[in-house]
Every structure is written in C-alpha cells, then in structure tokens.
C-alpha cells in the first residue's frame, strides 16, 4: 500500500525536483550538524593571499623563466612546472598596473594569467571544464534553432 502511494507520487515527473531538493536539504542539515570537520593542515595546493598584488590569488611569485618551487602531488610528472608563473598580454599588463583585480578577471579577457597549477599540473581538468561548456552550448544552440 505504502509503496503504491509512494510510486504514485514519484511517477509525476514534476515531483522529482522537490524530492531531490528535499534529499539535498536533509543531507546538508546532517552535514551542518556534523561540523566541525577536521581541517588537514598540510594542504596540497596552499593559497596565500596578498591583498596588495593585482594577480591575487593566482600570484605564484618568482621572476619569469626561472623555475620556482611549486607544491605538487607528483613533482616527477610535471618537471616543467614553475617556469612560467604568469604571462600578461599588454592589455592584462595595463590592467594589472591600474587595478588590483586582474586575478578576478582571469576568465573575462583573453591572454591573462597562466596559472601553473591550473594549466600545468591539473591540465586534464582544464580540458574537461570547457568540454562541459561546449556541450551545454551545443544543446542550447540545437534547441534554439530546431526546438
């Protein structure tokens, strides 16, 4: 009986979103009650915030073309990491010199910062991320033209 009633409720496909949202809310409440979770002090990709640097939080420091030490999980897999911590086009250079917020515009203009960890040691992520975007654009454009 109860199974029948449940299956009748969830057979309506407009109910699936509220049910999923309910499950997520429930789990988030549990997660909030299980706080504080232990914080592991020795982080793999440590972030340092220097509010005076315009490249914040992507400022890995070091002069260009001289290898600096970057913390990686498997340093032997990316021997070239740490050579190019930032590359600025003239426009980015201008923005970095006039404002403090170049680091936040990394996706908003071409030729900005090359983040060593983002593009060198975690390159597969940067491939998958735009793929998700391209698939989303493909679906949207297909629906717009044919839908």
């Amino acid at each position: 009986m109860i199974i029948q009633r449940i299956s009748r409720i969830i057979s309506n496909y407009e109910m699936i979103m509220p049910i999923f949202a309910g499950a997520v809310t429930l789990l988030f409440v549990v997660a909030i009650f299980s706080l504080p979770l232990p914080y592991y002090e020795e982080q793999l990709y440590p972030k340092t915030y220097d509010p005076t640097s315009p490249l914040n939080p992507y400022d890995r420091g070091g002069p260009p073309f001289i290898q600096i030490d970057i913390k990686e999980q498997y340093p032997e897999n990316s021997p070239m990491a740490g050579y190019v911590t930032s590359y600025l086009t003239p426009f980015s250079w201008y923005m970095a010199n006039t404002t403090l917020y170049l680091g936040t515009t990394i996706v908003a203009h071409p030729g900005g910062i090359l983040d060593e960890i983002l593009y060198n040691t975690r390159g597969l992520d940067t491939v998958v991320e735009p793929t998700i975007l391209f698939i989303a654009f493909a679906i949207a454009s297909y629906l717009y033209r044919k839908g």
């Binding site: 592991y40 999980q73 498997y74 975690r122 793929t131 493909a138 679906i139 044919k146």
Partner: protein, 220 residues
Amino acid sequence: MGMDNPGGIPYFILEFGDELVYFSPYTVSLFILALVFTLFAVIAKPERQVDIVFGGDAFYAKETSLAELKFRRFMAIACGFASMGAMVTGDLFNFTLFISLVGICNVGIVAAVKNRHVQNAAYQYGIVALSATVPLFGAAALIAATTGTLSMVELWSNASLAVPLVVKALLVLGVMGEGMAPFYAAKAEMFRAPGAPYVIMCSLSSLLIFLRVIEVVLVI
C-alpha cells in the same frame, strides 16, 4: 601501497601531471563496457518506432530526422567518452567533472527529441542535474579540505587520510542527481523518445557512474 584497493591492483597508471589515470581490473572492465557501447552508438542506426492503429491495418511510422539523428548520436558519443573518462580517472575533482559531463550529455540526448512530454521531462532532469552539482563539487572541496589531497591513489595508500562519512554521502548524492536518468520517475516520458541506441547510452552511462562511485567511496 599500504591499503588494498577493492578494485584490484592497477595494471598500469597513466600520468597527467598531478592527475593519475589508473587501470585496475575493476576500472578496466567498466572502461571496456563504455568503449564497446560507444562503438555501438557510432555504428548503430536508430530504431524506427511503429504505432499500430487499433482495429485496422493502418500504422504510424515515427521518423527520426537526419539533423536530430546526428545531434543525438553526437551526444551519445560524447556521453560515451565522458563515461570512459569517469571510469578510469584517479583524481577526485576530475571524477566530479566527468560526472557532470555525463549528466549534461544525458540531458542533451533526450532534449533533442521534438516531443512536448519528452522535453518537459528533460527540462526537469536538467534542473536536477544542475542542482546536483552543489553536493558533488561541495564533496570534492570538502575532501580537499579534510585530507589535503585529491588523488585517490594517495587516499587509499595513506591510511591516516580519512574522509568523513557525511562527505562521502554528499558525493554519492551528487552522483545520484547527475545520473538519475534511468531511475527517473518520468522514465516512460523520456524513453518514449524514438531512437533506441542513444537512449540506452543514457541508461548505461548512469549505471557505470553508479558502479564507479561505489568503488570511489570504498577507496577513499
């Protein structure tokens, strides 16, 4: 390697910088399944549904237009590649990215069908997949914070790194939201869509990511 991996000892490990892709007996079998099904999606022609009119000789043949076929095949192949990636990746953030790619490809496979009911169902599923990214990426962020690493190899070989149970639950819930398609209540609506091999790709990819997330939760 200190602890045992329930998926078996990896045959070989492919290195992409900090992201290790490992081929253990478990991940290899799932990978081959995804690969074979992707090949099927490449070579198969879509099913042609026929509705018989009751009490007569007439029937309706549902045609899949060429543009729709091409788009759905593209989505099915992309979905196959995404599942293959999710099967073998050894990095948690990379895993969550592949899972969300599978989710959006599943939406694409069904959303291309020009049928009001199917598109309504696909829209609802799309919203579920969208909101599932919060627990999914939240879990990845919490794993990074509580253990300091994202590599599954590190997590299973170092016994002192323990992921809290609630974080694992968040990860599983996120994967459930992304791969909900076959368990979806509106299954009949979505699967009414003609074009069999592509719709089955969406079931198979969800099945595979569920199988894989079990291994991930046991390993970390």
